[in-house]
């Protein structure tokens, strides 16, 4: 799915043998997850910041969703003609609440509480036609 495109921003996700994962970090003292990576723990109750690389996903639950009915202002990008898309906030099983676009044909089909999985896919095309790839969530 991603072989043709390039990431919108490098270093935020990866393709592993087990499927796509978000690339972040976690504090081993207080278990706080960070996405994107953080070099320090920001939890005010944490006694000692100890940050390790961590990856997140693929399974979670949709905490809420909406539809982006109008073309978003910059720095967002989109293909013309504009097609509304669904947005989600997903609670991943590993304790991260993360925003993402929903990988669905019909934006109105998304329901709060849906079980979802992390996928990668194009969210717009660069001027040379290259797919700009980002993380997304697909109901399962």
């Amino acid at each position: 799915m991603t072989t043709e495109g390039t990431p919108v921003i490098e270093g935020l996700f990866s393709e592993t043998a087990d499927g796509p994962r978000l690339v972040g970090s976690r504090c081993t003292t207080c278990t706080t997850p960070y996405f994107p990576k953080s070099s320090l723990c920001h939890n005010p109750e944490c006694t000692e910041s100890k940050i390790e690389d961590a990856s997140f996903g693929p399974l979670g639950t949709l905490w809420s969703s909406s539809i982006q009915n109008y073309p978003p202002p910059p720095p967002a990008r989109y293909d013309e003609p504009y097609e509304p898309y669904a947005l989600g906030v997903v609670d991943l099983a590993d304790g991260l609440r993360v925003v993402g676009r929903m990988a669905v044909e019909d934006p109105a089909s998304v329901q709060v509480g849906d079980r979802v999985e992390l996928v990668l896919g194009p969210i717009y095309h660069e001027e040379d036609g290259t797919e700009a790839i980002s993380w997304m969530f697909r109901p399962i």
Partner: protein, 393 residues
Amino acid sequence: MRDVAVLGVGMHPWGKFPERSVTELCREAVVAALDDAGVSWSQIEAVTAASSRFSGGKGWGLNGNDIVEDMGSTGIPVYNMSAGCAAGGNAFNVGHTMVAGGAYDMVLVVGGEKMPKGFIQTSGVEEETDPEFLRQRCVGMPGPAFWALLCRQRMAEFGTTEEQLAKVAVKAHQIGTHNEYARFRKEFTLEQVLESNMVSDPLRLYEICPVSDGAAAAIICSADKARQIAAANPVWVAGSAVATARFDDGLPRGLAGVVPTGRTHHSEAAIAVEKALAQAGATPGDLDFVELQDNTVYYELAFPEDWGLCGPGEAEHLLESGETMPTGKMPINPSGGFLCFGEATTAMGVFQVCELTWQLRGDAGPRQVPDAKLGLAQTLGLGGNGTAVVLKR
């Protein structure tokens, strides 16, 4: 800490004023506030001003300096406060703190704004280290999407209907027709709201506030000063607080946060309100009315519950039984709120102080909250900034 009075307030009407500069808008508000307070410009000892990203301020948010130059450079200190859309509330808090602490006896608090057309970019930074930039570029999720996501979650949790959302807007515009400073002074039927375009599903065009131009000013002073001024008709600051969002807040501001254990969204607003009420020695139930930041109808349902004015899931019932109208048990936004004014972002915190003052004096005419003695105002802004002020008669 000394008692602090709100001695006078003034506003320029809200709307779109392409022919007028933000300085002209501010001057009208400041002159009205001085006149209302019965003091002259030369009596002002310091200015706390909301810093704007969109208008005036020499591109550096020096909006208070623009006003001092325009009104007459008397050499007084200027404090330009930046807190996103909470800047007006923040400027009030800083002014209050300085008068209460004895640094100055008489301070002008002011916020003025001319907004660009259309939907604004939340952040002005286009860097890969900026979480707002990442969210908008990688997901395509602008500011209003937050309101929609919060609203959809409420609908799933409490069964809030589209009709109930629309009723908040209908109620706001019923009140707004009575406010001469409001931009939109026309009633809408439930059908008109429900037929307006879906902007950020589940929120429709008439259920979110557009951006506006406007300016508001307040003169605050020590109790001794207030007593010296013969024509004074002061109201009093019972509490004033600012706060920032907590780490365990359930609303991810960038790409992600921690799955929270409790139900806390916009902790910056809840903390500020709690602190201001504590300073006032008041409970939520003591409040006679509230001016809250209704960028969208969602907030008018969620915030009273978040702050303990009513129980979780009760707000829809209070709305539908008329209790959030000025004559109800829990009046919310008797000014008409952001829905009727539109958001002149950094001026809103000072606009709310004007409305609180008029209500507490009993000068609010057809939108008057009967026998209003204690009122709360709240703003929030980018960066997780929240402000609250409690005024009393």
